[in-house]
Symmetry: C2
Subunit: 467 residues, 2 copies
């Protein structure tokens, strides 16, 4: 009767991980993917002749405490390599003056450093109060949630430069403006990552390492394992539930895991309709705005100048810049247009955007930066099956008003995707965690129904969660 035991909507890391786990537990799983490729918000595009020589149009970094993705990469035989960070970083201030520095934060005037340091300390104290499993239960949660982070910055930092530094950090981490996220969301996000520095740092933090050959490989390899259990170009526009199971698109199964961002999950038509508050949750997790811009060069000429390729530029629009060269691959720089810059530049002709980015590179790294061999960019807000990156963000009121519903299954419908993670939400690591959690949920709920000896599926679920 059923086409499979469990149908998974979305072949990003969350959906594929869920499918892999369920498949490993002996269930028949089918993954339906809207795009003609797997990998969701990861996309590795070859630039040279060798397979490892890719530019990452999507998620690209892994950090040392991202155990889920590191262990998956190891499992699949994919190696990591450190983000290039040798040499001095650059800071371009509002007036276009360049300063060299090392570490995460440029050396600023002493009174600015004190100001920034105090804000940083306060933030870290607040982060400690948050349990990422239930940010809505934090002490004074409603008060932390009623403020936008912009309000917090204005109240906490006194100097313009410290405020700009905090704003740049928010753009870099969330790809939105500080007004768009609540203080509670920032605290939650940092708590889920293990700390504020874990989000910002290259060495020791979320930007420390990369995957040889690109992050999309993780999904490609899992999809290869799953073989014909992954169907491409198969968008799911409706999910019908009845007493016996679900029908996602045309596929009948006992349960469904929806592994797409909440903003997109809300666009699926459900029958019976989702409860009001669950639907309204999907209206309250808008996606961030980011355009990744990558220039490939003959030579990594900035390294000759003693520069790492990392830069923070307040004038922007390329505010956050990194050396993007894979080992033995084509040298390159990457710029992130984020938040407001991404929204405004999304609608100008591609040539103008390219010129603005390359002018920025030139101010930072000199005239050679103006003439790349290749230039590639990706506006994730234009992708119909992502509609923004890096992740859904929660503005004031959303966590305390709707957060409890984020992972709550609706009958036979389960929710995955990095937005539902409690560790490294918004990251590839969180996507994998969420896929495992959803798979375990399904196993626990359906143990008996799948005809197992009592407890067998629960034990399988426990095994997944321990890994």
């Amino acid at each position: 009767m059923d086409d499979c035991d469990v149908v998974v909507v979305g072949a990003g890391l969350a959906g594929l991980t869920a499918a892999r786990e369920l498949s490993g537990a002996g269930l028949d799983v089918l993954v339906l993917e809207a795009r003609d490729r797997v990998g969701g918000r990861t996309l590795s595009q070859p630039v040279g002749d060798r397979a490892e020589d890719v530019v990452e149009l999507g998620g690209q970094w892994v950090g040392p405490t991202q155990h889920e993705i590191l262990s998956l990469a190891q499992d699949l035989g994919i190696e990591t390599y450190p983000t290039h960070a040798t040499g001095k970083n650059l800071f371009e201030d509002g007036g276009g003056k360049l300063k060299r520095y090392t570490g995460t934060i440029p050396m600023l005037a002493p009174h600015v450093m004190v100001d920034y340091g105090q804000a940083d300390l306060r933030l870290k104290r607040l982060i400690k109060r948050i349990d990422p499993e239930a940010p809505w239960d934090a002490e004074h949660a409603e008060r932390l949630d009623e403020r936008s982070f912009a309000t917090w910055i204005r109240r906490t930092a006194k100097t313009q430069t410290a405020r700009e530094a905090l704003t740049t950090a928010i753009r870099a981490v969330f790809s939105v403006e500080p007004a768009d996220v609540s203080l509670l969301h920032v605290l939650f996000y940092a708590a889920a990552a293990g700390g504020w520095d874990d989000l910002l740092d290259t060495e020791g933090g979320a930007q420390q390492d990369r995957l040889a050959g690109g992050t999309q490989q993780l999904s490609v390899r899992i999809a290869e394992e799953l073989g014909d259990r992954v169907e491409l170009s198969a968008p799911v526009r409706s999910i019908r539930s009845d007493g016996d199971g679900v029908v996602a698109g045309e596929i009948r199964a006992r349960r469904v895991i929806v592994a797409v961002p909440p903003a997109l999950a809300g666009r699926i038509e459900y029958d019976p309709p989702l409860p009001g508050p669950r639907d309204q949750l999907t209206q309250r997790m808008p996606m961030g705005s980011v355009i990744k811009c990558m220039a490939v060069y003959e030579e990594p000429f900035w390294r000759e100048d003693g520069l790492s390729g990392q830069a923070i530029s307040l004038p922007g629009p390329a505010q956050v810049v990194f050396d993007n060269t894979p080992p033995k691959g084509s040298p390159g720089l990457i710029a992130f247009l984020e938040g407001k810059d991404a929204r405004e530049l999304a609608v100008v002709p591609e040539g103008e955007r390219r010129d603005a980015v390359l002018r920025g590179f030139q101010r930072l790294f000199g005239r050679r930066a103006a003439h790349p061999v290749h230039y590639v960019e990706k506006d994730w807000s234009a992708e119909p099956y992502s509609r923004g990156c890096y992740a859904g963000v929660l503005g004031p009121g959303a966590w305390t008003g709707y957060g409890r519903l984020l992972r709550e299954p609706i009958g036979r419908i389960h929710w995955a995707g990095t937005e539902t993670a409690t560790r490294w939400m918004g990251y590839m690591d969180g996507a994998i965690q969420s896929g495992k959690r959803a798979a375990a949920e399904v196993l626990r709920s359906e143990g008996a129904a799948f005809g197992d000896a009592p407890g067998a599926r629960a034990a399988a679920a426990a095994r997944i969660l321990r890994r």
Copy 2:
């Protein structure tokens, strides 16, 4: 070739008004409505034997400066009658103590009145700075937009009671919590209504009058005029644009007017896909949360006690209560569960919700209130083709980040709906204004294409906008 000149998605007041105007200008229009009824967020349900005896499950009030709806009602021969407001209003404080008062705001302790008065004055000064045509251009717009209204309340009002009064006002007007809206959105909304008091007041304000026989009649009558040009149970799930026109669902036309809330417009599949920022706008206007609860009684017994039936109850959940009796119709009380209360009570069994509301009525109006003849309720967040009421709201960052795109046509796709109004946004009046504006846009764009003498359509457009 084309099935009609213009297709309109949604037979609420906005869509039907647009269709009526275009039809009046000689175009062939087809309105596609997802529901099996017209009227969108208006819904008048008969309770007695006479057609005029209805309870309003949706929008129900009109104010004296709502010229669009008053003129439409007059056009269609629908009479207005004043909201019942004779007698004393009731205020139930946090401790359950009842106080009688007259006017919009209960008499509070002098220091509270001073505190509230100062906040009220500040708010009104700020409102004057906003041009509702372009709130993003207001002086210090970004600063006004980066703050949630909760932050503003906390900074501005010092007493707990004044804060609660402002919170109740936000719930009553927006059906969300103060954290969920930006200060700029509140200012815009009031500016679009002509002022803050215009939003809150019964006499002289948005709650002054009602329509005999119910507000849904407006839509029903226009639909009757349009005859077979309105198709029910015809949800539009896709809109395809090409060089020649658009195809909405199965219908080919030269242009389309999408007259549904942005949150729902984002769920339609567009080909080519909408530009990123336009799509992201639809992710940033979540609908408010309200459950309307109506009790019908044999007698309007509260009137005998010298009470108007209007009440504000801080303990809630029926925080905002009105006498809902139509002239010569069945006596009734109406309660609005709004914001947090609506979200939390949306998921409890209907009986529990009813009991909670009737307990509230009983505290206010005595034991007879516990035993209505009928009890009817409507949770608008559960309606698949509304997903909340009264309207889409903008949280911090949304107006300045995305507001400019709200009315901007995308090729041959035009946007209507009360969320796009510049006068009385969120109200029926705004819906009508938006329908006229969209109709005029279409006429101006298509004048030549429809084979008119130069200028004829532009003149028709100008006529619509003058009305």
